[in-house]
């Protein structure tokens, strides 16, 4: 029922053959730099952006780009399950929230060390993903969307009731995480490149995963779950594993977000935030990974640009989303691919 004809499914199969395969096979696949041209261009842009921003002397630009990269990480993780696994999670912001609150709560208890915080973030989001995923994956289609929404809302309301940690109002952090006792992350440039490193790392990891044996099973399940069962796979186990991986990466995004803003709030976990993550992925073009980055960037930059033109920017942004849904099948990447 859900997106049986996704851009991934429509894209020509990558004719991947070992170099010494029989002559009947198709051309060898292009080299890495050509396959990943767009991703490399995006990363190059991110790498030089601080230098450009310096010229304009506008610190807020840098923080906008950091935010875009953090949401790109969250969107990438959603693309793994949504774009490659056809699992429409409507509660993905909960994982971002778990990352945020792991940092916030540990900070409040004077545990500022980055490694401890990261470990707690990853373990907590993995556990939450495992338990909720194990339950949610029993349902299909629309019911999966709704049950993930329910779990997202539970986390949302849980955080609003955490009175010792700010409740509704959120929690201001005393500082960023410390690295081996130093406050090196307080330096915005250092933090910027940490986020960029995470983004590149996550992208590379996910690119490897979707192209691996595991990724093949995940993609196959999206194509035709019954067929996968009929050749001996139990789709549930693979989908659950993907759900846990995606949850952990989204938790990492939350960890970074809390550090950037030095503030955490239930507002990061509301259903609208989960909706925005879906929209970033669909907007960019799902099932492509690069699309998730493009989607997150477009979403946040467009928001920023429109907001500078008019305070009623949503009057323009809303209809834009409608137009994309109506006319840009496969999101921004799909649009350009067809235009070529």
């Amino acid at each position: 029922m859900l997106d049986t004809a996704s851009p991934a499914a429509k894209a020509p199969a990558t004719a991947t053959t070992p170099a010494d395969a029989p002559a009947a096979s198709a051309a060898p696949r292009p080299p890495l730099w050509r396959r990943e041209a767009l991703a490399l261009a995006l990363f190059a842009f991110f790498a030089v952006a601080p230098a450009i921003a310096q010229v304009g002397a506008e610190g807020y630009l840098l923080s906008l780009v950091i935010r875009a990269m953090i949401f790109a990480i969250a969107a990438l993780s959603l693309d793994l399950i949504l774009g490659y696994g056809a699992l429409v999670s409507f509660g993905h912001a909960a994982f971002v929230g778990i990352g945020c609150y792991a940092v916030g709560i540990l900070m409040a208890h004077a545990v500022p060390d980055i490694f401890v915080q990261l470990l707690v973030t990853l373990v907590a989001s993995a556990l939450f993903a495992f338990v909720t995923g194990a339950i949610s994956l029993r349902t299909k289609g629309v019911y999966f969307i709704m049950i993930t929404l329910a779990f997202g809302q539970m986390v949302y309301f849980l955080t609003t009731s955490l009175a010792p940690y700010g409740g509704d109002d959120g929690l201001t952090l005393p500082s960023r995480s410390t690295v081996l006792g130093t406050d090196v992350l307080e330096n915005d440039t250092v933090f910027y490149y940490l986020v960029l490193a995470c983004l590149v790392g996550v992208y590379a990891l996910l690119r490897a995963i979707v192209g691996s044996r595991f990724g093949r099973v995940l993609r196959g399940t999206k194509e035709n779950a019954v067929r996968m069962q009929a050749i001996g796979y139990d789709p549930y186990r693979y989908q659950l594993a993907a759900y846990v991986i995606a949850g952990m990466i989204a938790g990492l995004a939350g960890f970074l977000l809390a550090n950037q803003l030095e503030f955490v709030s239930p507002a990061f976990i509301s259903w609208q935030r989960s909706g925005e993550l879906i929209i970033m992925v669909v907007l960019g073009g799902m099932g492509t990974l690069t699309g998730a980055i493009v989607g997150a960037m477009s979403f946040l930059f467009l928001e920023e640009i429109l907001a500078r033109i008019t305070q009623d920017w949503k009057l323009i942004f809303g209809p834009l989303l409608v137009l994309v849904a109506l006319f840009a099948r496969g999101g921004i990447l799909g649009f350009f691919r067809r235009a070529k």
Binding site: K10, A15, T16, T17, S212, R213, G220, V226, Q229, A230
Partner: protein
């Protein structure tokens, strides 16, 4: 000869309707056993029950010495029970080669490997190409499966089933919806598979079946009314009345 698949008093009801009504059947290793019956006889439901897509209400399914009555489909496949679908079931976005390689992968090593490109695994690829060669699709290996012709998709589905290295092949109306020429090609392929695999063939097209099958079972309204060699079944009075008579009329 040894029995590889045995159905004991298998039942399945949809509401008040008995779709599979006390079916007992045994398939011997190496034979091509055809199950024929008019439309609505419950053939597809029976194959769903054997393959594990539909649960059985009562009775038992023994496969290769194991009771698989309640085993999920993927476990039955791993035990050696492969099937094709009446409505072609492939991975439409994958190339033909990757369709088959995915089936090979399912039984060779863990699929919880997150690194490394499986399309570069020679072992998977070679076996996939071998299965494609068996069904005559070598030249179409790198075509996206969704773009293959209907007949080619049927051939591909057969290759996928073969790639699971089955002890028993369950084929659900492989001739359904194929044109004359295509159906001849399918029959030819089946001839080639016969004697190499144990096959349960569910089919509506009787002429093809009588030419191919070692034994034939006739299913009418969820009941097996006759089992035996083709010429014996063809001569059976009950069969002539229930099935052939209907066809002739």
């Amino acid at each position: 000869m040894s029995v590889i698949l045995e159905l004991r008093n298998l039942r399945k009801n949809y509401g008040a309707l008995a779709v599979t009504d006390d079916v007992s059947l045994s398939v011997e290793a190496g034979e091509l056993h055809a199950v024929i019956g008019p439309n609505g006889a419950g053939k597809t439901t029976l194959i769903h029950q054997i393959s594990g897509l539909a649960p059985s209400d009562s009775g038992a399914i023994l496969f290769d010495g194991q009771d698989v009555t309640h085993a999920p489909m993927h476990e039955r496949v791993r035990a050696g029970l492969a099937r094709s679908f009446q409505i072609t079931s492939i991975l439409p976005g994958f190339s033909a080669r990757e369709n088959v390689a995915t089936a090979v992968q399912a039984r060779s090593g863990s699929s919880f490997r997150f690194f490394g490109d499986p399309s570069r695994e020679r072992a998977l690829d070679d076996e996939a190409m071998e299965a494609l060669a068996t069904v005559g699709l070598t030249a179409r290996a790198d075509i996206v499966a969704g773009q293959l012709s209907h007949g080619e998709k049927r051939q591909l589905e057969l290759a996928i089933a073969l790639a699971t290295r089955p002890k028993l092949l369950l084929l659900d109306e492989p001739l359904a919806g194929t044109g004359r020429e295509e159906s001849e090609r399918v029959v030819e392929t089946l001839q080639g598979l016969k004697n190499r695999y144990t096959i349960v063939l569910i089919e509506h097209d009787m002429e093809a079946v009588f030419a191919l099958a070692d034994r034939v079972s006739v299913l009418v309204y969820g009941r097996v009314i006759a089992t035996g060699a083709p010429e014996v079944v063809r001569a059976d009075a009950a069969v002539r009345e229930a099935y052939l008579g209907e066809e002739a009329a």
